[in-house]
């Protein structure tokens, strides 16, 4: 009797489950692949500091970084700070999916820079599980401001360097966080009170509010005090604190933010931020990026 019931079951069950069976069979056939986590951040920068992202392989990126004058400095007289704007223009190119090289020029102290950014380890799931990404960024800067009517013949004195390791993790589709140990070295500082070498640990993150809008926060505490002379005494440089939004529109990413750092490049914004949020020394700024695909990948053709 029981076997008849069993028989009935086997006869009547298959048609009901059949479609799921085939889909389940397909699921079982699927090979487990390495799935790299993508789009942890919308831009290659969180705000001032680097994110874990680089443009895709064969993609040229143009970045326009703009910093207005201080909100506390005759804000309306200076046309919302526009009259004192500082700008960095940069281009970078990704040769493959892990190495990116770029150059830039910022208006403050007429500084040129060159950098290499490499994804050393990529967060992934699937057949390989890596919980975080490691991205190395290293950059050299040269100040080309004329000194007593001409360029300093000793160019080495005008060089400064930045090396950062971006340790980041995309926790879910909304939240990504990064810790960025940073080593800065300035060959010649303007004042004896200032450190030639500065260590800082950047902390940053983004939280996606909607698909195309995210809230970004960034803080770069320096590990030792860095002073500058002011009047008869000395003042301490502040740690850089920035908050802003990423807005994405197809090929562009607009990053709009407020920061107590005016400088665009690492030695300036990490080690030389004279203003504090509490004194209203806050600057509005934006980064705009636009990408151009120079080398298109070969798409598979019909077989």
């Amino acid at each position: 009797m029981r076997s008849i019931a069993l028989l009935c079951l086997t006869f009547f069950m298959p048609p009901l489950l059949a479609q799921n069976d085939l889909l389940a069979e397909l699921e079982g056939m699927e090979e487990k692949k390495v799935e790299y986590v993508t789009a942890a951040f919308k831009g290659t920068k969180i705000i001032n500091g680097q994110s874990s992202e680089i443009p895709g392989p064969g993609v040229l990126q143009f970045v326009f970084q703009h910093r207005f004058g201080s909100l506390s400095d005759d804000f309306f007289y200076n046309f919302l700070g526009l009259d004192n704007a500082q700008v960095r223009l940069g281009i970078d190119y990704s040769f493959n999916d892990w190495i990116n090289v770029g150059v830039g020029r910022s208006s403050f102290e007429k500084t040129y820079d060159g950098f290499v950014k490499a994804k050393l380890l990529r967060q992934c799931t699937g057949s390989k599980n890596v919980p975080l990404s490691l991205t190395l960024f290293t950059s050299a800067f040269i100040n080309t401001l004329k000194f007593r009517g001409d360029l300093d013949p000793d160019m080495v004195n005008r060089m400064s360097y930045s090396t950062q390791l971006v340790i980041s993790r995309k926790f879910n589709s909304r939240l990504s966080l990064a810790a960025t140990p940073t080593l800065l070295h300035v060959n010649m500082v303007p004042e004896t009170q200032q450190n030639n070498t500065v260590l800082a640990i950047g902390m940053g993150g983004r939280y996606k509010l909607t698909q195309r809008l995210s809230l970004n926060l960034e803080y770069f505490p320096q590990l030792q005090k860095n002073n500058y002379s002011e009047g008869s005494g000395t003042s301490e440089f502040y740690n850089s604190l920035s908050v802003g939004f990423d807005i994405e529109t197809g090929g562009h990413v607009f990053q709009l933010f407020f920061s107590n750092s005016r400088g665009v490049i690492d030695p300036q914004f990490i080690a030389e931020s004279p203003g504090s949020w509490t004194d209203g020394d806050v600057y509005f700024g934006f980064n705009i990026s636009r990408v151009f695909t120079l080398k298109k990948p070969d798409l598979p053709t019909y077989n």
């Binding site: 086997t10 789009a39 197809g250």
Partner: protein, 180 residues
């Protein structure tokens, strides 16, 4: 004894049915979106499919992240903003042939109507599309194209990109099956 006989017969017939089963792992699905401003094309060569003639069942499955675009940023946006592939990693189709040919052996080159549930972005839609099935040495080929409207699958296209992404997207399928 009787039970054993039935079991034996059942086993035997299931072997017979299995012989009518066709498999593909690297089928191609390609989509094309065309607007006056921009043409967008993407290819996925990781489509797996099974056609079971005995049960008259067909299933497709493809990983959304397997779509390759010409522009890296587009691919990122496709996964991140439109298809939300972390949440909905694959698209599937499960259905059957509307007019069943007697068996795969009788098949030569025919247009067949396939009916079933297409699931994209976590949304199920009933679809009915015509495909061309051609007998080959190793098994058979399936080719065809149909139109998918992003709106039907709750794929939201914001106003800033509305001019660049078509409302109806042409999807073409090209799958080579092996008989097993």
């Amino acid at each position: 004894m009787k039970f054993r006989l039935i079991l034996f017969t059942a086993l035997f017939t299931s072997v017979g049915l299995n012989a009518q089963k066709y498999f593909a792992r690297d089928g191609q699905v390609r989509f094309f979106s065309s607007t006056p401003i921009e043409d967008i094309e993407a290819v996925n060569s990781q489509t797996s499919s099974i056609v079971d003639w005995g049960k008259n069942q067909v299933a497709f499955r493809l990983p959304i992240k397997g779509f390759q675009f010409e522009k890296a940023l587009m691919q990122e946006h496709f996964n991140e903003n439109y298809l939300e592939s972390d949440e909905f990693p694959s698209a599937t189709f499960a259905g059957s042939l509307v007019d069943i040919p007697e068996s795969a052996d009788g098949l030569d080159d025919e247009e067949l109507l396939l009916s079933g549930i297409l699931s994209i972005h976590g949304v199920d839609q009933k679809v009915e599309e015509t495909f061309r099935l051609t007998k080959t040495e190793q098994g058979m080929d399936l080719k065809g194209s149909f139109v998918v409207r992003p709106k039907d699958y709750d794929i939201e296209i914001p106003s800033v990109t509305r001019d660049k992404i078509a409302q109806s997207i042409e999807v073409s399928v090209d799958i080579h099956y092996k008989r097993r």
